[in-house]
């Protein structure tokens, strides 16, 4: 049953992404392009998605999940360095290519070699996060020692 729920969620997510135009990199970059021909579509997508999700979060207060014991706990880490630095890296790549992880997979079947290359690089980036983190820490320590 949990597998079926995952399939339904993935299907709805994929449909929503292509219908909303979020697999079109021009629309995503258009939203970020505040000095060009600004495209507000992404704000409507975000707003439309937040509505049902807000109702769902409300419902988590009075019931339990259909096929689990409890709902996910709030991450208590607070706003830390990794959150902000990671999001900045993500944002730079997002602006550069106009793709984020969901649309990268949703458009993989019709995005040609560009889509395959982006998705492959994204997965390599995900899998080498620990190593890259260690590399940046080392670089930071060296600059600290030098200065």
């Amino acid at each position: 049953m949990r597998i079926v729920i995952s399939l339904v969620a993935g299907a709805l997510f994929g449909l929503g992404l292509i219908i909303s135009g979020m697999t079109n990199t021009k629309k995503v970059q258009g939203w970020l392009d505040i000095f060009g021909e600004w495209d507000p579509t992404l704000a409507f997508v975000m707003g439309g998605a937040i509505l049902p999700m807000a109702v769902a979060w409300k419902a988590t207060r009075v019931r339990t999940p259909l096929r689990a014991d409890k709902f996910p706990a709030v991450n208590t880490a607070g706003i830390d360095r990794d959150l902000i630095i990671g999001s900045v890296f993500f944002g730079v790549g997002w602006g550069l290519a106009g793709l984020c992880p969901g649309p990268a997979i949703a458009s993989l079947s019709f995005g040609g070699s560009s889509g395959v290359l982006f998705a492959s690089a994204m997965i390599i980036g995900m899998l080498s996060t620990r190593r890259l983190q260690a590399f940046f820490r080392k670089a930071e320590n060296i600059t600290k020692t030098i200065s």
């Binding site: 729920i5 339904v8 969620a9 993935g10 709805l12 997510f13 449909l15 929503g16 992404l17 292509i18 219908i19 909303s20 135009g21 970059q29 970020l32 392009d33 060009g36 409507f44 997508v45 975000m46 707003g47 439309g48 998605a49 509505l51 049902p52 807000a54 109702v55 769902a56 019931r63 999940p65 259909l66 096929r67 709030v74 706003i79 990794d82 959150l83 630095i85 990671g86 890296f89 993500f90 944002g91 790549g93 997002w94 602006g95 550069l96 290519a97 984020c100 992880p101 969901g102 997979i105 949703a106 079947s109 019709f110 560009s114 889509g115 290359l117 982006f118 998705a119 690089a121 995900m126």
Partner: protein, 141 residues
């Protein structure tokens, strides 16, 4: 097109419903980056199978509907270096921040999570600066 915001809204509601199904059904937060990364973690076989199911549906359903719904092409860059650097930055950044547009944006903001709101502000700001820099100054995109 002037009708684009309606498609955006309808698609957005579908995305939100997807998140609601996964949350109320399986008690999990729908974060695309986490679910994709989860396909490479085999410590918990059951969770691994769920992640695979989600990502498979995310891949195959658009493949089936892209023609009947007359969906626009991706218009992605064809510059190999741009794609490789952008992909690496998105992959690394979303793992370091533990979330992307769906996890921090859609699921975080709707929960009034400070982490989600801060992350969303950071990646939108960085994305806007990135477009200004790479498009208007360097002409790469």
């Amino acid at each position: 097109m002037p009708m684009d915001w309606i498609y955006g809204l309808v698609g957005g509601v579908l995305i939100g419903c997807a998140g609601a199904v996964l949350l109320l059904g399986n008690g999990r937060v729908m974060g695309a980056s986490g679910l994709i990364f989860g396909m490479f973690k085999t410590t918990d076989r059951r969770i691994w199978a769920e992640n695979l199911a989600f990502v498979s549906a995310l891949f195959f359903v658009p493949m089936l509907f892209v023609q009947p719904l007359n969906i626009a092409p991706t218009h992605a860059s064809e510059n190999v270096i741009v794609l490789a650097i952008a992909g690496l930055a998105v992959g690394f950044g979303t793992r370091l921040a533990n979330g992307c547009t769906s996890g921090h944006g859609v699921c975080g903001i709707s929960r009034f999570s400070l982490r989600g709101i801060a992350a969303t502000m950071a990646y939108i700001l960085a994305g806007a600066i990135s477009v200004v820099l790479f498009k208007h100054f360097l002409g790469l995109i």
